[in-house]
């Protein structure tokens, strides 16, 4: 079988690099036409560029995997390396996230409404003209904010989605000496490195159009209204060659009503806004601790105390992220910059290590007595968003959407900075690590293999901290919170975070390397090795009083809740397309088979594949249909407990024994999980978070649609248009869904 590698070595011959660059340009023309709606996948099949399974044929001059005219028979065509201009590794400071301002909800104009605001406005002729609603949320009672009266928004966070521009209002939430010396008052350019060109407004689309990536800080019991305005170009062809201007933001993995979940089919258009209502409640609030008497179920007050909240404190969550979820364009839009992080604070995890109240776990964060902030201190609580990127000969972000196995970049970024350094003190830090890549898995160690303490997996603190010298593979969208104690180092020493997961393509990791292998520089994968440098620069001004207690947050006890039913989902290639609605369905090589019945189906957000009953618990088995790939599978809405891997409870590692929302199935692997369906209803999703797989078309819709009544009522599917969202009945309901 042919060996292949995604990116050419910079040492490849000039002719070889020219050929690869030409192939990339040829593909870019097609990608551009496809992303701008001028051409469909079916057209490409007719032209002989794609197979009927949706795979790109290895045509020389187009495919990166076709053999080169300049190479011997064992060397495949690759992509040209992204030029670094004069940028070098570890020569720029790592920016901390840019914290969104929090304002009273009264600043919102117009005021938020339970049902979508359908006030009419003129629609740009490029979007069809006429009149349309100012809010893109589907109208009417089904998409009204659930429990809006009981949980009225208190905090407003406003943002816009727009093209790249200079950031003149960067708020890292920490002083400069905790941000590697970055002066936040200076203009922050939209670039991956000061020695690389600024990204143009069509290439990079982010929240507020700026970098660093954004951070929302929220706390339990304080509902948030996130108003996102779409300020992207109205012309679909003004996209820099990839990405789409219709958007939908998923708060991953919020326990909110489906109308706020960023449903893939609830997207909205330029010049519209969408009000996302995040109640920030503990799961089980309607059945457990309903009178809010348990102090462990609590939220930090500004005065340093606690406010009790209803719900199960064992469901406390900590580290989320938010990202675009546009149907069949998630990979492009997220890659283009539509991703941020979301820290949730609670009595247990309050982000103030010096408050001793018997509830606070006092994890590394910072001192309230120093900052004056009784919660949410970020000094020693650091968000890291890892993502591999690629750029073209002009230094502009580039993507190849025809790599249906998955797209890999060749340049590692942390918080959208190319291989930065971070200055740290000799003490403990918490890192909230997000895999924000499109298709790449990471496996992280410190360059000296020093121990790290994993305290959380996905959004949830573990029952017990786990000490590791290298983390498990981290799939796309998985979050690992770890604690590193830098007191073991001397001032002026430096140590690196290292990626050990070597890829040859986007299907899965090809090999987990040892630290010495990764540091050797012998890997063909340019994203293996050191990617973040820690510089130990000083002792802390105050003694480190933070803790990593054991236990952290025990799992909810589900033993008394009967299992209503079991379902099976198999994630596979070779999908069939059985529905053909041009808006709701999409065809690609990937798909999902449900309950071992019928075909492996390509995505259709008009199809209901599962409809669990409100208030019940189920067991779901997630199967990987093949050994050639891995799939990080994400289930929206409820956190789940992992019961078994490959049929064995003992095969669930210690760091997966808490709650999770993304599971790497592993090649030919199987995961059994259990989850409940409560508090809210509506249509949610389940999909592969290799977003290239998701977009092509490994995604399904499930819904909670009885709202506690004995009546099962399939929900109508929204069909967004600039002139207003319409609805149509589900175009398919699997026989085993109910």
């Amino acid at each position: 079988m042919p060996d292949k590698n995604f990116f050419l070595s910079p040492k490849a011959s000039k002719a070889r690099l020219r050929e690869a660059e030409q192939a990339r340009k040829n593909r870019q023309e097609i990608i551009k036409a496809r992303s701008q709606g001028q051409i469909s996948r079916r057209d490409l099949i007719k032209m002989g560029i794609f197979t009927s399974a949706g795979l790109m044929l290895p045509i020389s001059g187009l495919s990166p995997f076709a053999r080169s005219a300049y190479a011997d028979s064992n060397i495949p065509t690759g992509l040209p390396p992204s030029p670094l201009f004069t940028a070098t590794a570890f020569s720029q400071p790592m920016p901390r996230f840019d914290v969104f301002p929090r304002n009273p909800v009264s600043v919102l104009n117009p005021a938020p409404t339970a049902q979508a605001n359908t006030t009419q406005q003129p629609v740009d002729p490029a979007l069809g003209g006429g009149m349309g609603p100012i809010e893109g949320r589907p109208p009417g009672p089904i998409w009204a904010h659930q429990q809006f009266t009981q949980l009225p928004p208190v905090i407003a966070i406003q943002a816009s989605m727009e093209g790249a521009k200079i950031n003149n209002v960067y708020n890292p939430g920490v002083p400069s000496n905790q941000n590697s010396g970055i002066n936040a008052a200076n203009p922050f350019h939209p670039t991956f490195h000061p020695n690389l060109p600024d990204q143009t407004a069509l290439k990079l689309w982010t929240y507020n159009g700026t970098i660093p990536p954004k951070l929302m800080q929220v706390r339990y019991g304080e509902p948030v209204l996130f108003r996102l305005s779409n300020k992207l170009p109205v012309q679909q062809n003004q996209n820099g060659g990839f990405g789409i201007h219709t958007i939908s933001t998923h708060e991953h993995n919020g326990h909110h009503g489906a109308e706020n979940d960023g449903f893939t089919g609830a997207y909205f258009f330029p010049n519209q806004f969408y009000d996302y209502h995040y109640p920030i409640v503990l799961a089980g609030r309607n059945s457990i601790n309903t009178d809010a008497t348990d102090i462990n179920a609590s939220s930090p007050t500004d005065a340093g105390g606690l406010t009790k909240v209803p719900g199960d404190w064992h469901e406390t969550m900590s580290t989320h992220w938010f990202h675009d979820h546009m149907f069949s364009f998630t990979s492009q839009n997220v890659y283009k910059g539509m991703a941020g992080m979301f820290n949730i604070y609670s009595g247990k995890d309050r982000g103030a290590e010096d408050i001793i109240d018997g509830v606070n776990l006092r994890l590394p964060s910072g001192r309230a007595s120093v900052s004056g902030k009784s919660w949410g201190n970020l000094d020693y609580d650091v968000n890291l968003m890892l993502a591999d990127k690629a750029w073209d000969g002009n230094g502009q972000l580039a993507m190849d959407i025809f790599e249906f196995d998955g797209f890999l970049g060749d340049r590692m970024t942390v918080n959208l900075a190319y291989k930065p350094y971070m200055e740290v003190e000799r003490r403990k830090y918490r890192f909230r690590i997000l895999n924000g890549a499109v298709s790449r898995f990471f496996k992280i160690a410190l360059s000296d293999s020093s121990p790290m303490i994993q305290i959380a997996n996905d959004g949830n603190l573990l029952p017990h901290p786990v000490v590791l010298t290298k983390l498990d593979e981290q799939g796309i969208a998985e979050r690992y919170d770890i604690v590193i104690d830098f007191s073991r180092y001397s001032i002026n020493q430096k140590v690196w975070m290292v990626n050990l997961a070597e890829h040859q393509d986007g299907k899965r990791v090809d090999k987990d390397l040892s630290v010495s292998e990764a540091l050797s520089g012998n890997s063909d994968d340019p994203c293996v090795g050191k990617f973040l440098e820690f510089r130990i620069v000083r002792d802390p001004a105050q003694p480190d009083i933070s803790q990593v207690p054991d236990p952290l947050i025990p799992n909810p006890d589900l033993s008394a809740i009967p299992v209503a039913r079991e379902r099976t989902f198999e994630f596979n290639d070779g999908a069939n397309q059985t529905t053909h609605d041009p808006i709701t369905s999409f065809f690609g090589p990937w798909g999902i088979k449900t309950n071992d019945q019928g075909d492996t189906l390509a995505a259709d957000f008009g199809r209901i594949s599962a409809a669990p009953r409100f208030g019940t618990r189920e067991i779901w088995t997630l199967k990987n249909g093949g050994g050639g790939w891995d799939h990080p599978i994400h289930i929206h809405f409820e956190e789940c407990q992992t019961l078994a891997r490959n049929g064995s409870a003992s095969a669930v590692p210690a760091w997966e024994k808490g709650r999770k929302d993304v599971w790497r199935l592993r090649p030919d692997g199987e995961v059994k999980i259990t989850l409940q369906f409560r508090d809210f209803g509506g249509m949610f999703m389940e999909h592969c978070h290799n977003t290239v797989h998701e977009d092509n078309a490994m995604l399904l819709r499930w819904e909670i649609d009885d709202l506690g009544t004995p009546f099962l009522q399939p929900l109508p599917t929204p069909i967004p248009k600039p002139q207003g969202v319409t609805f149509m009945p589900p175009d398919d309901i699997l026989p085993s869904a109910f």
Binding site: M1, P2, K4, N26, A33, G37, Q38, I39, S40, M47, L55, P58, I59, S60, G61, L62, A66, R67, S68, A69, S91, D405, Y421, S449, S450, P451, I453, V466, V467, T469, K470, V483, D485, N492, K494, V495, R508, D510, K511, D512, S514, V515, L519, R535, V548, D550, D573, D581, P582, G626, G627, W629, N646, P653, W655, P667, D668, G669, T726, M728
Partner: protein
């Protein structure tokens, strides 16, 4: 609504820009095909479906011992490591290029422990916690995997952990995909200059 969209799509397909683009793509393809047809022929072969089982599980318990130089003195480590192995094949006929066979390894260090000191007052015992090493490696007859494991004083918490080196040489039957034998040694985690450096420049 669907009908309207179909009409829109048809209009798009027959729009001048689309037709121009299509013609352009076809011309480019024709040119490329003419130049590189012999190259294309080499690239489309897919592996035939394998008759071997896609999954083969095997497991070994391997004795391990060694010493680690620790600030508390020399620690003698002994015990066993359970190595669970799953050989996986890519049997899909839909993908363009089958992936190579791999083994998924889980090395369970929980049965390893260490001691230092010899008298009642100096004797300390060390444990590894819940650490497992989870590794994905290409299937080959013999593979030397250098992993590390934390260890810490059993009377203290995980924050006191240090690192020891575990070198596992594992042998596989590449025909059956089974793990057949192996040896494991324990030693010091040697930290090189490439692993911990010194700040020489201030940016």
């Amino acid at each position: 609504m669907n009908t309207q969209l179909k009409i829109k799509m048809r209009r798009l397909l027959f729009s001048p820009s689309f037709v121009t683009l299509s013609v352009g793509i076809v011309v480019v393809l024709a040119m490329l095909a003419g130049v590189r047809s012999s190259v294309q022929a080499q690239t489309t072969a897919a592996a035939p479906p394998s008759t071997a089982p896609a999954i083969v599980d095997s497991s070994l318990t391997i004795s391990a011992k060694g010493t680690v130089n620790d600030p508390n003195g020399t620690i003698t480590v002994s015990g066993s490591v359970i190595v669970n192995c799953r050989r996986v094949l890519d049997t899909s006929t839909n993908t363009t290029t089958p992936a190579s066979p791999v083994v998924l390894l889980d090395l369970d260090f929980s049965k390893l422990s260490g001691t230092s000191g010899s008298t009642k007052t100096t004797l300390k015992t060390y444990v590894t916690g819940d650490n497992h090493a989870s590794e994905l490696r290409p299937l080959q007859a013999s593979d030397t995997i250098i992993v590390t494991s934390p260890y810490y004083d059993s009377t203290k918490d995980v924050l006191s952990a240090r690192t020891m080196l575990v070198t596992a040489t594992l042998n596989f039957d590449t025909t059956t995909g089974k793990l057949t034998s192996g040896s494991i040694s324990i030693g010091n985690n040697v930290v090189t200059a490439a692993a911990v450096g010194t700040i020489t420049t201030v940016n």
